[in-house]
Symmetry: C2
């Protein structure tokens, strides 16, 4: 049986998980694939560091170049994280003609295009199933299973930290800050939580998915990104009363190009109200899910753990299987890391994107307030689909909830600026988009 030697760069949580998974299931994979996977060398920062997963000292080195330059190593797996050394490692392995497997979405998001181009020049390939949505095989699904479909809609719950926080806020009636602190204690959120709760991590992942779906590499700086810090307990409660659940979504919506014009694609990350009856509304805790609508297949959904040692390891093993078969069959660029093509598209600026909205205002309880607000929306030709003014006991302002029909983000923003200047409006309005999946 053909033996495939793996060089592992990084033996932290994910690297340790991959080492362990290969020890556990390499013989099963050999039965299935006809290839024997074996870890040949592991590059780490500090050889003496205590590790949860025991790796024989003889495999360890601090010099990653020993892996990328070693002709006995067939595949390099980059699991060190970060974007500077990791970039060197991946580029060096690709230049040496080796296939590379990575779980590093930040690296791909920042330097994907240049790494893909090195792979192409050297006839190698870069595999990155583990970079998006952990154990969910969404990269394989998009590139292979959906190869016959135009992807008209993609909605992803791709950040486990945010989903965990929103799930607990809804379940327990707790506030964002309290749940965040608890999530930090439990290890579900970082001490510096911005990457997760401000939506940046979700934007990295959504950009990768959008690129694969639409055949042009999405610049992550152009992805309109909002996090969940501004979601309050009250919003979750009012949304619930209206039959909705709030989730942080990565959103990719395509408007087909007319005649031979390019598709126009909206790529955004923001929290949104989704109907409780939709399958995505029941994706809870740290689980991830990606909902795809194809022009042939219709609606599909893929669900699983979005992060963690084992879920990530599962996707790395899947990539290793593909990379090993590609070596065995000498078909290394069978499914290239990325294919830009003429059916690609252009990004739609968020201002031009159309959606529905939930608006919560804090107003003075006085006759005529709704009329003044409705007049501003009316002049902007923005339709109100429903209004709720819950009864409130105790002094101060009262909440006023408006559900708004389809409007562009620009029109909505302008109208809201005017509304917030009204003397009867007491504080900054809360605006959350509504996704109805039609």
């Amino acid at each position: 049986m053909r033996r495939v030697n793996i060089g592992l760069v990084g033996a932290g949580t994910v690297g340790g998980g991959v080492y362990q998974a290969i020890q556990r299931n390499a013989s099963l994979m050999a039965c299935r694939l006809g290839v024997s996977l074996r870890i040949h060398r592991v590059a780490v920062r500090d050889i003496r560091r205590a590790r949860d997963v025991r790796i024989p000292r003889s495999l360890l080195t601090t010099d990653w170049k020993q892996l990328t330059q070693d002709p006995r190593i067939d595949i390099v797996v980059e699991l060190m994280g970060g974007t500077s050394t990791a970039r060197e490692v991946v580029a060096s392995a690709l230049r040496a003609g080796k296939p590379v497997v990575t779980a590093n979405k930040a690296l791909l998001s920042a330097h994907g295009e240049s790494l893909f181009s090195i792979a192409q020049q050297r006839g190698g390939n870069l595999y990155y199933e583990a970079s998006v949505a952990g154990g969910i095989p969404i990269i394989k699904v998009l590139r292979e299973a959906m190869v016959g479909n135009r992807i008209t809609r993609l909605y992803g719950i791709v950040n486990g930290t945010c989903n965990y926080i929103l799930t607990r806020m809804k379940r327990e009636g707790a506030d964002f800050m309290d749940v965040l602190r608890d999530a930090q204690k439990l290890g579900y959120a970082e001490a510096e939580p911005s990457l997760d709760v401000d939506g940046h991590d979700a934007a990295h992942k959504t950009g990768i998915l959008a690129s694969l779906a639409h055949g042009f590499w999405v610049n992550p700086a152009l992805i309109h990104t909002e996090g969940i810090r501004h979601i309050t307990q009250r919003d979750i409660e009012f949304a619930g009363q209206l039959g909705y659940t709030i989730k942080l979504l990565g959103i990719v919506k395509a408007r087909p190009g007319v005649a031979r014009a390019a598709n126009r694609v909206q790529v955004s990350v923001y929290p949104a109200l989704i109907p409780n009856s939709h399958v995505l509304a029941s994706v809870n805790d740290v689980f991830n899910a990606v909902f795809l609508r194809g022009d042939i297949v219709g609606d599909t959904l893929y669900y699983g753990r979005g992060a963690g040692q084992d879920a990530t390891a599962s996707s790395v093993l899947s990539d290793l299987g593909d990379a090993a078969l590609d070596l065995l069959h000498d078909s290394r660029r069978r499914v290239p890391a990325f294919v830009a093509h003429r059916e690609g598209g252009l990004m739609v600026p968020i201002d031009e994107a159309v959606s529905r909205y939930y608006v919560r205002l804090d107003v003075i309880d006085r006759p005529g307030v709704l009329a003044r607000i409705a007049a501003i929306l009316g002049r902007a030709k923005i339709g109100i689909s429903s209004v709720i003014q819950p009864e409130v006991h105790g002094g101060g302002g009262v909440p006023l909830i408006l559900m708004i029909h389809d409007a562009t983000n620009a029109a909505m923003r302008r109208a809201l600026t005017k509304i917030s200047r009204l003397s009867v409006v007491r504080s900054r309005p809360s605006l959350i988009r509504v996704e109805s999946f039609d």
Copy 2:
């Protein structure tokens, strides 16, 4: 660009859908794959028959041998259905060394092994993504994405007709026969519904999934199969009160073999109560879903349309993409149709399988009834986890619902036979298994 010529056998609902999908998206697939797919010839039973999808007369033939023997045809797609001529078509194309794509689960279930062996001898391959769960890429997920995982549990809602009937029974409080008749009118159920409602179709699909998960070809005759005819409105209602939903499930549970012994695998199809909080409980109408638990990845779920022209076409296109890439890279047996291997297993007879149960009895309302029933279960060492005796107005018997702890099917069957002989039990007990996904 390499052109790949397709010979299509069958132009009914599914064949027409595939023809249409290729017309629509072949140029997109060419961008993505670097291969141009083109329908070269279509074999049909009757050339003059009116078809929803217009196919040029010049492509049509009534002689399928013109496709399987034509050296200009690169891939044969069998979409005629049935198991006799379809078997000849597939075998003939494989003998001619051509890769074959099929959506025919009945064919695979009955003759899979012999067809796989012809493919192996001739160095060809058989692709069958569309044979299970329509547009859900479950074959690719099992064979490629989960290649590094031992599949410890698989639960599939794989028959859209049954799921549609059970969904409407629950939603509307309707009876099985009424919904079945309506489903037949709407085209969701056949005039002869046995294949669907008695679980045979689900058994074909579950057998294929179990075989791929466990590396031994499952004989469908050994799959314990129950349908949904005996599910009553009352059972759905009582299950709902207990927090459960009834779904027809294809079930594959593995008990790892001790030391070097083979795995023991339960493969069954039966309706079961599943907790409302589980994602599978919200899979409704004609949708399908497959829940997979891997020893590395944990819990994952795949959801989509399980049948219909377009969902099936999407999976055929995915297989065509793989088959075309395999031709391009001369790697036709990269992922063989089926790999039997030494980590395979043995079927567990249903009598030995352990599960929990819901039992509904119709008893005479008299003191001491529960004591007599409990005594029978107690002597059999079967534990009762809860009892509900709903209040009933009007004469006759009263329902008595027992929730039963883990017990073997044999022990439960024996106890139930004794219980049904009690004079206080008025009619045949209703027994439905409970799956708690632990």
